[in-house]
Amino acid sequence: MARTEKTAAIIIALFALIYLAGGRSLKLLEEFGPGPGFFPVILGLTLICLSVVYYFSVAKFAEPGRQSPFRPDYLLRPAGVMASLAVAALALDYLGFIITVFLLVLILLMVFERYRAIRGITLSLVISAGFYLLFDTWLRVPLPQGILKGLPF
């Protein structure tokens, strides 16, 4: 746990440094008061200070023997679900809403939840059709049609 938290402190410090570097072209002070870079500089420096305090507080007060919260066997399902969502985001404009959502729910139910084929397909159909009705038909959200563009629904 301590190692994970120390790594987190270092990542936060690096992020703060990049943030400060990214704002170096912003003016700190204008003629009558603070410029657009004033607040970001304060925040960047504060974040660096906090990450240093965090690092040393972890080093000093870490509970010995406490496991890292990122256990590989626990990460498998969240990583898989996020990967499925990322693929769905990539496919959304091309495949369109109905096909993408149907495939996404089908994968979540059958791959990650081990539903049987008939139950998984039925639920995926009902859910994707229900969401299409709710958002496209009732709430009039213009959902992407993708390869189904031109069809009467």
Binding site: T4, E30, P78, V81, L143
Partner: protein, 497 residues
Amino acid sequence: MPEVLTGIMKGFSIATLPMNLLLALVGCFCGTLVGALPGIGPSATIAILLPVTFGMEPTSAIIMLAGIYYGATYGGSITSILMNIPGDPSSVMSTLDGYQLAMQGRAGVALGMAAISSFIAGTFSVVALMLIAPPVADFAVRFGPPEYFALIFLGLTLIVYLGGKSVIKGLISGVAGLVIGTVGVDPMQGFGRYDFGIVRLADGVPFIVVAMGLFAVAEVLVNIEKPFKTEFITNKISGFLPTIKDWIACRGAFVRGTLIGFFVGVLPGAGATIASFLAYGIEKRVSKNPERFGAGAIEGVAAPEGANNAATGGAMVPLFALGIPGSSSTAILLGGMMMYGLRPGPLLISQNPDFFWGVVASMYIGNMMLLVMNLPLAGVFARLTRLPYSVLYPLILLFVVIGAYSLNNSVFEVWLVLIFGVVGYIMRKLDFPLAPLVLALVLGPMAEKALSQSLTMSHGSLAIFFTRPIAAVIFAFTLVMMVSPLLKKIWGRRQAG
């Protein structure tokens, strides 16, 4: 007083419009359901449903979203009592005696008392909100940028110091929120910052995307790490009305829970969870038989349930009167109000009386609806919570993806939501509180504007924050809050030494 009466009458004429009644009912139903369902909280639900409300009138939209907010605290008691699993953190204390009562065959009475206590406290808090918010707003009209900056600083400090286990993690979370808030055009000169040339980021990172990622996606990711199984009390639930003995036992708990809840709710960062813990602790302390607590004392259900409901009304006071949210849910409500074109702050009530009074009146009606829903329908909600998480989480994720897509009809927001989902997951795993980040993101641009205006007024001198009496008092209070944990530690060491 006549203004209050005129206002609330006007409010009722708005809240009783058929569409607003329906939306209040939908909000209360959804709120009770998500309060009862472990694995999804009110913040996530408000964030998920916010994009659905974009086509609505602001008053109607907030009536529904507020219904979710205060309805969730009603619903939280259902799973606490029947399953020993709190539906939301503010219902943790109700598990102690509520579940014991259910094991003794008094689940119906425990649910009934939770609903009645919630109704009494919820109604009181709406009356108090109606009486307190307008004068507070009138007073706050005198606030200039230094006072406003001091107030925002106080709000952020309180949520960091009261809201989490680790102050340093709360501070990092809050500063990270402020950092994200600097993306886009700066509020004074209109200079583009940290937008990487992406036009969509010119207006900043949409807070709703951050809220959906942090609360909804991250919650799902944490919950699906391992199979989600729950145990139910399987006996038929009946007899919701408490006995006269129960009423007598709870009369003090109603009053104490309500008052503690309301005043704790007004404080930014404290909220319904701390209110329910405090109310339970005090109830146990004043009881003549404290040993009954934890073994099925009905007051142990009435006090925390009253407190967490009163806190939701209390939290609306700074939201409506000052434009300062005190919790993640009210921060999302505030963000929603800004998206509908309202300008939260001391002028909100005077400039939008129909909105304020309409929402307040709907809260009276909503509390009535929730009492009716939670007494005879508690069993129905309990059955609804048996919806397997394996079906629920794909629905949550779909709402998130479509909600994000519908903001600009683009996949860009979907990517942002996924990124913030991962960030939220990592934060949850490392015990970083999420509320300071969302609150700071909403308040950040306001804080920067107030700071810049103050320093421009004083030609760069920080003395402006300490020479104006109201700002100085607020900063002094903030300072006391910041050093109090340190002083407590030093005092404790001296006592021990």
